[in-house]
């Protein structure tokens, strides 16, 4: 199973600042292993961030997002103590969802 994400969600002014690190190979499908065999593509395709039942960011990614991806964005309407949920789904059907509690500013 995929490793947990590292999520930081902090109030800055009236906005929630979200920074997340995901543990993922983001393999391009173009590389070869030591035996010269192609390493199959393995990458996150979809990321969805929700807060209070509402999607605050959704993304589609290709293979050129860096390994162990980093994402940083801001949204309005969150309060300290509330939860932000981040979910990803990769091209091999693996998925992972984690949540973080919004910290005060």
């Amino acid at each position: 199973m995929a490793d947990p994400m590292r999520i930081r969600a902090n109030m800055t002014g009236d906005k929630v600042e979200v920074k997340v690190l995901m543990a993922h190979e983001m393999e391009t499908g173009l590389r070869k292993d030591a035996q010269g065999k192609i390493i199959p593509a393995h990458f996150i395709r979809n990321v969805t961030v929700t807060h209070s039942g509402k999607t605050v960011l959704s993304a589609q990614w290709g293979t050129s997002v860096s390994r162990n991806p980093f994402l940083h964005f801001r949204f309005k309407g969150g309060k300290p103590g509330e939860k932000v949920t981040i979910a990803w789904l990769d091209n091999q059907g693996e998925k992972r969802a984690d949540e973080a509690v919004i910290a005060g500013g």
Partner: protein, 280 residues
């Protein structure tokens, strides 16, 4: 006679080293490095390492929570900056990795070979491949553990003990290795790390006999290397430098590797430990 004069001319000509454009290159690279600091995937490895420390593994189904890293069984906080050190039970100077091998064998019942099997994540060396993005994912228990153990010394002062005769001998052997030039490229560690302010390509090289440089170097390993997408330990740093020096392979957790690390740790004494870091 003529040749000699020409040669003298050749040697006398010095060129302005850096035009403004090249100073801009350095400045932009510095900016790139600063941008990387915003987020360090080393955290992901540290989190796994902390979990592994507490996980029951091996034939004895035991965790590493009683492992003695030098400050007593189970004490991790501050242990990394007081390594390498002499351990009475093995009568050997050990760094973090070699000590973990000892604990995996003694506490968890692994054979030494099993404990050493995957010292570095990925393949260790960059892969030979047509693809521009190097590194391939294969997890290493050892790397994850070292990432966490090192993180538990963040902000502390590098202070390797040097009171046991074997610690002093490791330092002396490490110094000798540092100056040892050999192989088809005539390289030694000193070739790249003997002068101040030099670079390979755009990578700045620490002069290891200079305390400030050594402190920065020792204090920023382990590190997440963005070029490989892997967490790399100090053992790996030695192994990789030695590979690029065109030497035979430096064995993981070998006495020579520990001697080199002891030499560097002593040179870095008094510096602030700030690892796992993030680097090119």
């Amino acid at each position: 006679m003529r040749i000699q004069r020409v040669l003298a001319g050749v040697l006398a000509v010095t060129l302005p080293c850096f035009s403004p454009a090249q100073q801009d290159t350095q400045k932009e690279i510095e900016r790139y490095r600063q941008m990387l600091q915003e987020s360090n995937p080393a955290e992901l490895f540290e989190a796994r390492g902390e979990e592994l420390w507490k996980t029951r593994r091996g034939p004895k189904n035991a965790s590493l929570e009683r492992c003695d890293l030098g400050l007593g069984p189970g004490v991790v906080k501050g242990a990394y900056v007081r390594l390498p050190r002499h351990f009475a039970d093995t009568d050997r100077v050990q760094d973090a990795e070699s000590r973990l091998v000892t604990c995996m064998v003694a506490l968890q019942g692994f054979t030494p070979e099993e404990a050493r099997r995957h010292p570095f994540s990925g393949t260790g060396a960059p892969m030979i491949t047509a693809d521009p993005f190097s590194g391939v994912g294969q997890r290493s228990v050892m790397t994850d553990l070292v990432a966490w153990i090192a993180s538990e010394s963040r902000g502390m002062t590098i202070a390797p003990p040097m009171s046991h005769p074997k610690e002093r001998f490791a330092y002396q052997a490490g110094e000798r290795l540092f100056y040892y030039r050999a192989g088809p490229y005539d390289f030694g560690c000193v070739t790249c790390h003997g002068e101040e302010g030099k670079r390979i390509r755009l990578q700045n090289l620490p002069k290891m006999t200079n305390a400030k440089d050594a402190q920065r170097a020792f204090g920023t390993w382990p590190a997440y290397r963005v070029s490989e997408g892997e967490l790399r330990s100090m053992q790996w740093r030695m192994w990789e430098c030695i590979r690029q020096m065109r030497f035979p392979e430096l064995e993981f957790a070998s006495d020579a590797s520990i001697a080199l690390i002891t030499y560097l740790a002593k040179k870095a004494e008094g510096g602030t430990f700030d690892a796992p870091a993030i680097k090119r």
